[in-house]
Symmetry: C2
Subunit: 339 residues, 2 copies
Amino acid sequence: MTEQARGKQSFLLSQPPVITHWASVAGKKESEGPLKEYFDIRSSDTYFGEKTWEQAEKKMQRMALETLAKKAGIALNDISLVYSGDLLNQCIGSSFTLRNTGIPHLGLYGACSTMAESLLLGAMTVAGGFFDRVAAITSSHFASSERQYRFPLGYGGQRTPTAQWTVTGSGTALLCRGGHGPKILGCTVGTVTDFGLKDANNMGCAMAPAALATIRAHFEDFGTTAEDYDLIVTGDLGQTGKDMLLTLAQREGIPLGGKLADCGTLVFDLPEQDVHSGGSGCGCSAITLCGYLLDKLNRGKLKKILFCGTGALLSPTSTQQGLPISGVCHAVIISGGRN
Amino acid sequence: MTEQARGKQSFLLSQPPVITHWASVAGKKESEGPLKEYFDIRSSDTYFGEKTWEQAEKKMQRMALETLAKKAGIALNDISLVYSGDLLNQCIGSSFTLRNTGIPHLGLYGACSTMAESLLLGAMTVAGGFFDRVAAITSSHFASSERQYRFPLGYGGQRTPTAQWTVTGSGTALLCRGGHGPKILGCTVGTVTDFGLKDANNMGCAMAPAALATIRAHFEDFGTTAEDYDLIVTGDLGQTGKDMLLTLAQREGIPLGGKLADCGTLVFDLPEQDVHSGGSGCGCSAITLCGYLLDKLNRGKLKKILFCGTGALLSPTSTQQGLPISGVCHAVIISGGRN
């Protein structure tokens, strides 16, 4: 093993890949939320000019990638490799985005942890010298998620207080061997973890054990504590899941203190925007990272964060079969400053 | 870029990872086919002792991983990282397999190309020094696929002549920095490609353009031809798709000659086993590779193959919305011989 291996679940990047550019596309509700000024594209059309919500998701990813390429001053197919995935069955949002573009593509399924998973794999790919200019991207859409996981919107189902609101948006980051921007210093790969919860309307609590497992493994592997980061930011635990994570962490003697934030509570104004426990979906952490967080890191307002993408591993079929909801969480250390 | 980069879509592995062990689990029909002697576990119980077909898929993956660990003389959680995915919505076969095992996991969605995708990513991970002892695994199940993609089995729908039979099985390979066994020399990442076909009962033809695109890119990137390989083996084009690939290749002046084989036509006896155009599914290329092909490579009966995992990127939703079926194909060079 080279110097890059670091503990059981983690690796350090001796030549940290640089996030030279990033882009975000946000839906209507997200564009009315507290992070609105950080998004590149704000749309009030939930169809994004397409005929279906599933195709709208494709369109958002495409707009995000085109914006990324434009900001980087390259053509779309100068991107050497795209890591992407989404929540739709068979990840059709991601595959249709890249249809006949000629861009090499590796598809992922990490549920809502996909932004962190794609960054982690992109970092490996660039640091290992396999490809340069690798894009990590994901998306989610409120309406396509409701149709697929819960009830079609027309049904008008009542939401529980622990339910979260799937973010409509797409975020992408470009990873390069050189250049200027925030850097990925190291990563921790998550394990599939749960405490046996089965309530599909409380995914925050279902994912909290996985988030804690990854944060604990990360601290052990790197010999760090929460004090080493300006922010430990989970993907979409929402208020309920964030509270649960704090409770579990305290019980296990892992102080997270005032360092814990969650993209699901950052991206919306709770309860002003009536999103119950907060935002969720692949797009939640994607637009919060590829808008707000990377901007703060780039301007030196944040020096080092641990970005912890959280995902709930379930399907309507597994729920109907009475199975528990597992979680997974992948963590990426991102350092800021103009470097 | 290091010496590992090689052309637009490919990379060469200067320290080729070794496939030290592999394992396969096969269902009833597969265990009656021409490759039966190569499978580690043959089962005539389509439920594999579970209550549902989806859970049977989890059980197959678990049995494959446990067999792999046993063959390697290690404990299950000595596997440092698992790359896996399957065809079920939200890849629940893969996530339930690893539930609470403590093994780091990165989930993939490459449709039926997942065996090649997981090998490719595993090879990057081991060669880059990020993790050692990485398992690549995937699975499919005839009954869970029928229920999800087409009609529930109880419906008794008539199959078209171009239809394929989803393989029930799981295959896995262990990638290490040292040891003895076949080696991964290089890889080519595929692009999302299609010619606009929309017939979900003819996925072989829908995937053939993607297979050709990857094989052509591979030849260009490495400066090779079909003559440099003992076998160019696609994942699951079936007889119809294989014929289409040969036609397309001939038209474009890319001779594949007698080198082309397809796991979908190797794994079953057509038409003796009444599988129409042949086998398909993630498990098709997985058990053909992790049974038959790696055995032949290890015993020196094959010296070098290009393993081309093929995947059809569609969902019932995209089909209902009248969208075309894209394909993707990832290629991995595997060399044989006792080394």
